[in-house]
């Protein structure tokens, strides 16, 4: 496996946790990130937080993106964080998008959300955020060579 520090292409997990089946946002983001040259895993709908955390660790993703459209964002974030902690992976940044009222931003950040993308967010803004995260990793890491290293 190519470790984050030496990998040049951001790897992102886009997930739908819980019962919410509204997948337009998640898919638009997932395919948008792919089109921007990232490696993307889309979980499909109705996933358990434990499974998402496990996939994130196994696939060594740089960022996890969660889409929530039915008001369960706080509960979902809480569950995911717990599962990530159980796998010693609480350092994987989590971004959250969907129908999230502004008054919940602080609570979400406290629960560990690193970035929040409300309705109307642009895919390019999300790309920028992820590049910021992975560039940060690169700065502290390694070679500066922008070609993807082969596994």
């Amino acid at each position: 496996m190519v470790m984050k520090s030496s990998r040049r292409i951001p790897r992102v997990l886009i997930a739908k946790i819980g019962l919410d089946g509204h997948n337009r946002g998640a898919q638009v983001v997932a395919y948008g990130l792919r089109d921007a040259g990232m490696e993307v895993i889309y979980t499909g709908i109705r996933q358990a937080a434990a499974g998402v955390a496990k996939t994130a660790v196994e696939e060594d993703v740089d960022v996890i993106g969660i889409s929530s459209m039915v008001g369960a964002h706080l509960a979902v974030m809480k569950r995911l964080k717990k599962e990530l902690e159980a796998l010693n992976a609480a350092d994987i940044p989590v971004m959250m998008g969907g129908i999230i009222p502004e008054e919940d931003y602080d609570a979400l950040r406290e629960l560990g959300a690193d970035a929040i993308f409300p309705p109307g967010s642009e895919v390019k803004g999300i790309v920028q955020y992820i590049r910021g995260v992975t560039d940060g990793l690169m700065d502290s890491g390694s070679s500066g060579n922008l070609v993807r290293q082969q596994d």
């Binding site: 819980g18 019962l19 337009r24 638009v28 089109d35 499909g44 109705r46 509960a75 642009e122």
Partner: protein, 555 residues
């Protein structure tokens, strides 16, 4: 004076463009149908239009101009606002308020655990109990939702049960018994459209094949016992909201309709015995004229499908009752009050298109479950359209418009082409199992987003006329976080107090019927009467049929 010819006018048009420029090189509808500068008699003729064959009169085949001769001159459309949240008691309160405001039908939104056959205390349900709708575990909750609202006092009750469609039918019938109201005196409308769940909405439980049979159980039961019920609403709206274009919405909905009709006919039902009870549900985004044309094309295609393909004889089979929901994806979280205007325009298109029932979204649905004020504005939007604008005073006011009729023809032609592709894949179920619809929808949604980000598609307040300084603040609905716990307590009390032997017996009988491939509705009614939970019924059915899951994939 010699009247101007088309050629002469086109010369004037060209010089006008030269002098004043043009906003775009080419103009397209939302479905990417190319738009001419102008529509006239010639363009209508060249689109193959034949007034007698394609229009007829309102209330006559092929129903392009509406399914009733008098349309809204007799009565306005049904104003069925979608509501229901939290616990049954809160929903009961909201229903009473809406009825007091002149709402003529109730729409019961179910929370996701209920729609997925999960009990409120299951781990998977955590955080979603009472969120997207009301939590219903058993008949006890139905009794609370309709306390003081006898079912015969409401014109009809619509519910978004899909995977659990036949179970909700059983619960309503058991509730009617409890209230002492004969089912001949109320009408239940079940969405019960499982195919689109695998495409867009996602609340499937069982695999497609048994699910399609389960859907047909409700259709068959109602056809034989309750012919005034509406056991199936075939939906394009969710696929549209997921990203489909107007043309795709029409084609997918009608292809799905064929799958259901084939299943029902396969059970020996006469098409004229059940087709009159079928309804369709479509969405209405902002492209006004295309939307008006879409409804007209849809009605015509439905009528022709039923008559030509299924040999329907009863005109009622050929009339499509259309329910409309205004659209979520056209709303913006930025300057949310602008959504009131969007909803009004979408609602206008639905009425000009001849809808039978309309739910107008609340402006704050892009931020949360609607507040009471926002829900009221949405309902009043309908009352304003009905009572103040005069749009309801003439039947099919846009009929005969060169543009509308040309667009209606173009939509029909493109949708028929797509339906042929679906047929070539073996029909709706096979096409959906192969991901054919999903891929089209996903691509469209991605394109839409790209157009916005490139600025090719203007969304006011989002990518143009942006105002970052003055943030419009609207109060968003606060869910009662204690609801889940109270619902769980009630569920546990119910389980402790009911006749366990009776519940077990009814569930066994249900399992037996499902294994034998019999119609499950009679057994479901017994389960409902015994206060078995929806979760228990789904568990039993899942044991027989298995469950369906979507897996993770690298893109």
């Amino acid at each position: 004076m010699i009247p101007m010819t088309r050629v002469e006018w086109e010369q004037q048009l060209a010089s006008d463009y030269n002098r004043r420029g043009r906003r775009k090189t080419d103009y397209y509808s939302d479905s990417k149908i190319g738009l001419a500068d102008l529509y006239d008699e010639e363009s209508l003729k060249s689109s193959g239009f034949d007034a007698q064959r394609d229009l007829g009169f309102p209330g006559t085949f092929p129903y392009t101009r509406g399914i009733y001769p008098s349309m809204y001159r007799s009565d306005f459309w049904i104003m069925g606002q979608y509501s229901g949240f939290g616990n049954p008691e809160a929903t009961n309160e909201r229903f009473k308020f809406l009825l007091s405001q002149g709402q003529t039908a109730l729409a019961l939104a179910l929370d996701l655990p209920t729609q997925l056959g999960l009990e409120s205390d299951q781990e998977l349900a955590d955080g979603e109990v009472g969120k997207a709708g009301v939590a219903i575990n058993s008949l006890q909750d139905m009794e609370a939702i309709f306390a003081g609202i006898p079912l015969d006092k409401v014109r009809q009750v619509f519910t978004t049960a899909n995977a659990i469609g036949p179970i909700m039918l059983a619960l309503f019938l058991a509730l009617g018994e409890k209230q002492g109201v004969d089912p001949s005196r109320f009408t239940i409308v079940l969405q019960n459209d499982i195919l689109k769940e695998y495409v867009a909405r996602g609340t499937y439980i069982f695999p497609p094949t048994p699910s399609l049979k389960f859907t047909a159980d409700a259709v068959e039961y109602c056809t034989r016992h309750l012919p005034h019920f509406k056991p199936l609403v075939i939906c394009g709206s969710h696929m549209r909201q997921g990203g489909a274009s107007a043309v795709q919405e029409v084609a997918f909905t009608l292809a799905n309709a064929q799958a259901y009709i084939d299943e029902a006919v396969g059970r020996g039902l006469d098409v004229d015995d059940f087709a009159p009870s079928l309804e369709c549900q479509l969405s209405v985004p902002m492209n006004l004229f295309e939307e008006v044309a879409k409804y007209r094309a849809f009605r015509r295609m439905w009528a022709r499908l039923l008559k030509d393909r299924y040999g329907a004889k009863n005109p009622e089979s050929m009339k499509c009752f259309i329910r409309v929901y205004t659209t979520g994806y056209t709303m913006t979280a930025q300057q949310p009050l602008n959504n009131i205007v969007r909803v009004a325009i979408e609602a206008l298109a639905a009425i000009l298109g001849g809808a039978q029932s309309l739910s107008a979204n609340a402006m704050d649905e892009v931020l949360s479950i609607p507040t009471r004020e926002a829900a009221q504005v949405a309902l009043m939007t309908q009352h304003i359209l009905a009572n103040e604008t005069g749009i309801a005073d003439v039947v099919d006011p846009l009929g005969g418009s060169y543009y509308i009729e040309s667009m209606t023809n173009a939509i029909e032609a493109s949708a028929l082409e797509l339906m042929q592709q679906i047929a070539d894949k073996g029909g709706a179920q096979k096409a959906i199992e192969a991901g054919f619809y999903q891929e089209i929808i996903r691509r469209n949604a991605g394109e839409y987003q790209k157009e916005i980000e490139k600025g090719e598609r203007v969304i006011v307040g989002l990518n143009r006329f942006v105002d970052d300084k003055h943030k419009m603040k609207i109060e968003s609905f606060k869910a009662d976080e204690g609801v889940q716990e109270r619902i769980i307590q009630k569920l546990r009390a119910l389980k402790a107090g009911r006749d366990k032997e009776k519940v077990r017996g009814c569930l066994c009988a249900l399992e037996q019927d499902a294994r034998l491939g019999k119609n499950t509705v009679a057994a479901l009614i017994d389960c409902a009467r015994a206060y078995a939970t929806i979760g228990e019924m789904c568990q039993v059915l899942g044991n027989v049929w298995g469950t369906y899951k979507e897996g993770a994939a690298w893109l």
